[in-house]
């Protein structure tokens, strides 16, 4: 049997059970617990124990057994779920999780704080502490030498009704040795119509020889129901056996038994030797068939399996293939267009529609609800809050919001960091909160939603908010900015993401674990996402992570500069227009008035140092991330294009304005613009220009993106 498969299934199931256990415990701390939840709690440990035993994970069995005892007491109402008990259970949960993780990694099961937890459990259990650990599978004693036995079997009248066939017991007995004589005693059988076909009237007398002991023989019949009586004796104890067997029945039965025994030479005490049948070697063949597994068994599928588990790698290669298909489809379409054959063009359009559907379906297969990640936070909030002596309420919304699986995995760490940060630095001490008239209990919100082609995740708190002055002072002190830097509020907030910045005067062992918020920003940027901060002193802070839906394929917008083609992620494109020709500025205005708002312009040709002269007519693509807008000046617009992202090699990792590449239908390579970097550059450029116009010195705080050390345009 495929133990590896079973083990995987066990680990996965246990993880789910542990998750459920944790969420129930955390829920229960807030509200009262229902009987159903108590049952589920109990079953979580119970099921893990049961399955762990199958895999010989004795350490886990030993531990979960105690935890199960505790939960049993809780379920039966002998214990109340208070903070202490809940704490012990959560620690038990952690311990089992660690044990299972070690099993999954193929390591030795760690002792961890097992003894402490067990001691705590023992302290909570009312004496005498629980029942004994589950009986070890009875170790088979050394097979005894062949011996002769007498059996007197009176199956109860209900045995047939209970679904048992006395004959099957006898057949099973025959696998242990040799039945040398068997006779039925049918005196109880009624001769008239009072005969009940579902009732057992038979009594069996038997002589048996085999390498067994009395316990083994008794166990053959242990499943037989109430009302049955089995007398089993070694042949040597003939007299007492007959005595006992006789007592068991009425006169008719006794007579009929005596007849049998007489036939066998057991009654009356005629010679009790030499009668036994000639002895044969009685190693009865093992009757258990050993058919190869998986012949043609139809699998009974339980109704719960609405999901099919697919290896992530298979999905990835499918998505890769769909990516290739998208490109091939685009190529076919291009070819059809250049041939000018309209039926061909039509069919490629139909195909493109289908490919688009396949693409979105394939991608949706990788989408998982963010709730999977969110679900760990009640625990984080509880633990961190307790450690800091703060009472925190966590509210989660939008847990069903879906995003790419690969992204969900990478989000866990930054989100944890932000949540810890919110509790540690955001929310004030209880005394402080009381002093300013806030409710003592702090609030942390986790919120996820879709917004125009991206996923937004907010981590908000109702704490003290960010103090720009304090941040500025700290940044100056740390040498992150110079004293004459001119920064917007957003820029100041963003400073807390700078490496080496920590607003907390004291380093707690939670947020100050050596990694700062800069790691958060790096992680989010690696996912092509952005972080925004909203904050109001005294009211709280909101971190807003904006992430693309998927990492593999995007809807792109193709633009042309000179002979190069670039892709702008469509979700960032707001609108397009022709660049108005103005008499001043040598035809190159630095900003546009767009419906009353100033739109800074970025000339892609100059920015990327591409050769050639722009044509007479240039176009502006208005791109936006968050609340920042920039007009990107390009030569020509080519329109929408499904873009399969091919990541750039590590050689190009330092490129700021390029996030990837793709292959166009005609086989040419197009670079994907990193809109975030472009917008940052443009706004900084604008700020420094503005500063230049106001003051004689340029702003020292603005960073220059380095984009020009490679001829990336071609």
């Amino acid at each position: 049997m495929d133990l590896e498969l079973a083990m995987q299934s066990f680990l996965q199931e246990s993880a789910e059970l542990l998750e459920e256990m944790e969420s129930i415990l955390l829920d229960a701390e807030a509200d009262s617990i229902t009987a159903e939840q108590l049952g589920a709690l109990f079953r979580s440990m119970h099921t893990i124990k049961g399955s762990a035993g199958l895999f010989g994970l004795d350490e886990i069995v030993r531990f979960t057994h105690q935890a199960e005892n505790l939960l049993d007491q809780l379920r039966d109402g002998h214990l109340q779920l208070d903070a202490e008990l809940s704490g012990v259970l959560l620690r038990s949960h952690d311990h089992v999780k660690a044990q299972l993780a070690a099993v999954a990694a193929g390591q030795a099961i760690p002792a961890g704080e097992q003894d402490n937890i067990l001691a705590d459990i023992a302290a909570l259990l009312p004496p005498p502490a629980g029942s004994l650990p589950p009986a070890e599978p009875s170790s088979q004693a050394e097979p005894a030498a062949d011996s002769d036995w007498l059996l007197s079997l009176r199956f109860g009248p209900e045995v047939l009704r209970n679904g048992m066939d006395p004959a099957s017991f006898v057949r099973y007995l025959a696998t242990l040795g040799q039945i040398q004589a068997i006779a039925s005693c049918s005196s109880a059988l009624p001769a008239d119509e009072s005969f009940d076909a579902e009732r057992n009237y038979l009594r069996l007398e038997m002589q048996f020889r085999g390498a067994v002991d009395e316990a083994q023989l008794a166990s053959v019949f242990e499943f037989a129901s109430e009302g049955s009586q089995f007398i089993i004796s070694p042949r040597a104890q003939l007299a007492s056996h007959l005595q006992q067997a006789l007592q068991a029945g009425d006169a008719a039965e006794q007579q009929s038994c005596r007849d049998i025994w007489q036939q066998w030479g057991l009654w009356p005490s005629t010679a009790d030797n030499a009668v036994a049948a000639p002895t044969l070697v009685t190693t009865a063949p093992d009757t258990r068939p050993a058919l190869p597994a998986g012949a043609d068994h139809k699998t009974g599928r339980s109704s719960e399996s609405k999901f099919i588990k697919v290896e992530a790698g298979k999905l990835d290669s499918l998505i890769n293939l769909v990516g290739e298909l998208v490109i091939a489809g685009a190529a076919a379409n291009l070819l059809a267009r250049s041939h000018g054959s309209s039926p061909l063009l039509e069919s490629t359009v139909v195909m493109a529609g289908l490919i688009e559907q396949i693409r979105s379906h394939t991608l949706s297969m990788r989408m998982v609800p963010i709730g999977e990640t969110f679900s760990r936070f009640p625990r984080v909030v509880r633990d961190v809050g307790q450690e800091l002596g703060k009472s925190i309420k966590l509210e989660i919304s939008g847990a069903e919001t879906e995003l790419d699986k690969s992204m969900v995995d990478k989000l866990a760490d930054p989100l944890t960091h932000l949540v810890r940060n919110a509790i540690d630095h955001g929310i004030e001490d209880v005394q402080q909160r009381r002093a300013i008239g806030k409710p003592e209990q702090g609030h942390v919100w986790l919120n996820a939603y879709h917004e125009s082609g991206s996923v937004v995740i907010e981590v908000a708190d109702d704490g003290g908010g960010l103090d720009p002055q304090r941040i500025l002072a700290k940044a100056l002190q740390r040498g992150i900015i110079s004293s004459d830097a001119l920064l917007s509020e957003q820029d100041i907030y963003r400073l807390i993401f700078a490496a080496g910045f920590s607003t907390a005067e004291r380093i707690s062992n939670l947020s100050g674990r050596g990694v700062g918020l800069d790691v958060v920003q790096k992680n989010i940027e690696a996912l092509r996402g952005t972080v925004e901060i909203d904050s109001e002193i005294g009211l709280g802070t909101t971190f807003r992570l904006r992430l693309p839906l998927t990492l593999a394929i995007i809807d792109g917008f193709l633009v042309e500069v000179g002979s190069s083609t670039f892709v702008i992620p469509l979700e960032t494109v707001v609108e397009c227009m022709e660049l108005p020709v103005t008499p001043g500025d040598h035809g190159r205005p630095e900003r546009l008035q767009l419906r009353g708002e100033i739109l800074p312009l970025l000339y892609l040709r100059q920015f990327l140092e591409l050769e050639g002269q722009p044509g007479r007519r240039q176009n502006v693509v208005v791109i936006q991330t968050g609340s920042n807008r920039v007009g990107l000046v390009v030569d020509a617009l080519q329109g929408e294009f499904q873009t399969v992202i091919k990541p750039l090699g590590s050689l190009f990792r330092h490129l700021k304005a390029i996030s990837g590449s793709t292959i166009l239908g005609n086989g040419a390579v197009a670079l994907i613009l990193d809109v975030l970097a472009l917008i940052q550059h443009a706004t900084q450029q604008e700020a420094s220009r503005y500063a230049l116009e106001q003051e004689p010195y340029p702003a020292a705080g603005s960073r220059q993106p380095h984009n020009n050390d490679t001829s990336s345009g071609k």
Binding site: A6, L54, R161, R171, F223, R288, S302
Partner: protein, 122 residues
């Protein structure tokens, strides 16, 4: 014709192991995750034996047992309780409902097959 065994347990991994054990011994296995699902499978098909857990959501093993023993078509079907419970009062309850056998988890595959072999033949 392989005999059909209905395995009822809320643990998928346990069901998997039991299924592999039983199929390896030549039985045909159908599965249910709780008592309710198990009852839904008692739809006239031939089931030679039911192997059920005790602690399950929705409908536990003892209720399932009682239902089977009252079922017009399946009341003669032998039932084995496969459970970690060893408490005598539960066994007593089981006997009152008409249980046949009680196998304590964790089981060794030969042990389980033995127990089944006592009730039906493969």
């Amino acid at each position: 014709m392989a005999k059909t065994i209905l395995v009822v347990d809320d643990s998928t991994s346990l069901r998997l192991v039991v299924k592999m054990t039983l199929e390896g011994a030549g039985y045909h296995v159908i599965e249910a995750a709780d008592g309710q699902q198990a009852l839904a499978l008692l739809d006239g098909r031939k089931i030679h034996l039911v192997l059920s857990d005790l602690n399950m959501p929705v409908m536990n093993g003892l209720s399932l047992l009682a239902q089977i023993k009252q079922h017009p078509d399946y009341r003669f079907t032998p039932v084995i309780m496969l459970t970690t419970e060893t408490a005598e009062h539960l066994r007593q309850q089981g006997r009152e409902c008409g249980s046949c056998a009680w196998v304590v988890k964790p089981f060794e595959p030969p042990q389980l097959l033995d127990a089944i072999a006592r009730l039906i033949l493969p």
